[in-house]
């Protein structure tokens, strides 16, 4: 891995390589360049939980011609790149990727949920289909409980590798009013969920960043599943189509009666 990056930097195949380095015991993102090429020996992959893709978009915005190398430490990194290519936020010709040795994600490991959470809210390890065990009223009250915990830190959005809007709807004063805490339930999270449909790659960073442990992955998995069912679009698998260009034969959304 280190040798490859060193070679790329020397050959000029990449101008900058975004990877990880251990600093004071913390694995953290690091820019490797030709100027500091001796640092490449410190390049690590490890249990890295940062969105290097999002960092790359910031670099690319400043330097559209710069050749950027990115370490793929988790399988969702590549998917995030695809999404960013699809939405024209990164130019695939500008990006070189290097797969780290441990390709599989370790964020998949669910954390243990306390019995209280299981009872009152939504356990973090839940899959959308598990939710279907509850009736609509139950699901509704569980979600409202989860949303009521929101501190409106915007961490889920800020950390999200595929959130790139210059102007975010979550700061639109007609949609999410400033000042209110918690944000008017549930609009903040549902607006975000709508935007995640066909964009979320289930990397789990949002849930990790959430100080209130709102099970955001479950929410976004659900909307992505709908997109997949209706449009047969699998988010992040291909760099060259957006869900808007996929037209379904005929979209039938079954109406579901509200349980009394």
């Amino acid at each position: 891995m280190q040798a490859q990056v060193e070679q790329w930097l020397k050959e000029g195949k990449v101008d900058i390589f975004i990877g990880y380095k251990k600093v004071d015991g913390h694995v953290m993102p690091h820019f490797f360049t030709k100027e500091n090429i001796d640092e490449v020996k410190d390049l690590v992959a490890g249990q890295a939980h940062y969105s290097l893709e999002k960092v790359a978009t910031k670099v690319a915005a400043e330097h559209p011609d710069m050749k950027i190398g990115i370490l793929l430490a988790r399988d969702c990194n590549q998917q995030a790149l695809h999404v960013l290519y699809v939405w024209n936020q990164l130019n695939p010709n500008q990006i070189q990727t290097l797969e780290a040795f441990e390709a599989s994600s370790d964020s998949e490991q669910p954390e243990v949920s306390a019995p209280y959470k299981q009872q009152m809210g939504l356990g973090k390890s839940m899959a959308p289909k598990d939710m279907e065990a509850f009736d609509h009223a139950e699901r509704f009250s569980r979600w409202m409980y989860e949303f009521s915990k929101c501190l409106k830190c915007y961490g889920c959005r800020n950390i999200c590798p595929v959130c790139f809007c210059k102007e975010c709807s979550l700061e639109h004063k007609d949609l999410v009013r400033a000042g209110n805490l918690p944000p008017e339930i549930p609009i903040f999270h549902l607006v975000r969920a709508v935007h995640m449909a066909g964009r979320c790659i289930d990397c789990g960073l949002c849930e990790e960043a959430c100080p209130s442990d709102i099970p955001l992955r479950l929410l976004y998995r659900k909307v992505d599943e709908i997109v997949q069912d209706v449009f047969d679009y699998e988010t992040g698998t291909s760099p060259d189509q957006s869900p808007f260009s996929v037209l379904g034969e005929k979209v039938v959304l079954e109406p579901i009666p509200i349980n009394e």
């Binding site: 709807s169 007609d174 949609l175 008017e184 609009i187 549902l190 607006v191 709508v194």
Partner: protein, 68 residues
């Protein structure tokens, strides 16, 4: 506790070229329906975004109809 009959408040987004015209025609034909619907005319149902629907629910609507 007294229970009142539930009359949902419904916001209807209606496409100018079809559903809105159809609602007009329902009027011309004097068809009768309950008065708890509030029509919002739009130029095409395509312009109705999830935001509008969420905003409607957020503002207290019990149902949202998109006609187009």
């Amino acid at each position: 506790m007294q229970t009142e009959e539930f009359t949902p408040k419904i916001i209807a987004f209606m496409c100018n070229w079809c559903a809105y015209g159809a609602a007009d025609l329902a009027g011309v034909s004097r068809m009768q329906y309950p008065p708890n619907i509030r029509p919002v005319r739009v130029m095409c149902s395509a312009t109705v975004s999830p935001h509008h629907i969420l905003r409607a629910f957020q503002s207290g609507a019990d149902g949202v109809l998109v006609g187009g």
